[in-house]
Symmetry: C2
Subunit: 169 residues, 2 copies
DNA sequence: TATTGTTATACTCTATAACTATA
DNA sequence: TATAGTTATAGAGTATAACAATA
């Protein structure tokens, strides 16, 4: 009605347009993005990166016979992994050793110190998880998890059949 | 057991470590990120960007009395908005006109062509939505939407009280 | 010649800081 | 002086390409 008053009414509180705020996909995208940003931020404050966390988590499931297998699992480019492993190795969290049978390869494994670090980082991520999921009771959390896994499993199987980077961060 | 065979068994199919793949927050982050990437990609193929979509969606709810109000709603920096509006204006989708009462301000509004474009882009996003949510029946979709809104509303109210960028993309 | 790990380079997106014109 | 819009610059993150060693 009034021609553009000082503080326009439609922008009194900065909020997203309904069309977006109600779209599940938009919400998913925004939440996910924000979440990653926060995880990144908090891990960084703890002296690590989200990628570090991913790498350590992969190695916790067993030594990797080649660096590229880590990269593949995280859908990370090999060249990016190099720097990450350099940092982790310097900090004594992982160990690279040449494969005597194929001297091009490096077997990568977690050191005891690396396992400790993973525990520490996991605690940080879990705290974030608790905080973000706080508005949901345990039943709702389980349901959300189920729905997400359902969506994710298809997205994995179909939308990234080859080399589409999915990016842990 | 066997010392690092050619294709290490634990990496037969490149998949995420369980610790990550089962974490709802990690799933949320990954899905959201991937989703945004795809939306960005598909809109770009249609000659627009995710930001364009956001800006048009904001304007569809009414003329904005100042560019900064658009930026605030999308949690986008003012300086970034300039280029976006330039592009949209060149394409005749939005209109900038000086506010006669405060000549520093530009009122921004959607043109009829812009409204059409929004419809077109919305269709693209909705198609993506359908595709991604395909594994869920309509009841599950509604439930997912409910849970996400629940989590998001708190995240908005709490985690970004001031100037934390939440980024449409 | 193909592959593993590595290094170097370029590009995209975003964050920050200046600048102008109005108030 | 403060604010709206704009422009310019720098940084992070990532993608791509070239490279050396080994197969």
């Amino acid at each position: 009605m009034s021609p553009l008053p000082d503080t326009a009414p439609e922008t009194a509180r900065p909020c997203l347009p309904k069309a977006l705020a109600e779209s599940p996909v938009f919400l998913l995208g925004r939440l996910g993005f924000e979440l990653k940003r926060r995880a990144y931020e908090e891990l960084e404050a703890a002296g690590a990166s989200l990628w570090d966390y991913g790498v350590l988590a992969v190695l916790a499931e067993g030594t990797c016979g080649a660096q590229s297998s880590i990269a593949d699992r995280l859908r990370l480019d090999r060249s990016q992994l190099v720097g990450l492993l350099d940092g982790l190795e310097e900090r004594g969290l992982v160990e690279r050793r040449r494969d005597p049978e194929d001297r091009r390869r490096h077997a990568v494994s977690l050191t005891p110190k690396g396992a400790e670090e993973l525990t520490r980082l996991r605690a940080i991520v879990e705290a974030l998880e608790d905080e973000v999921l706080a508005p949901l009771d345990s039943e709702e959390r389980a349901e959300l998890g189920r729905l997400l896994r359902c969506v994710a499993s298809r997205a994995n199987g179909r939308s990234a059949p080859r080399d589409e980077p999915v990016a842990v961060r």
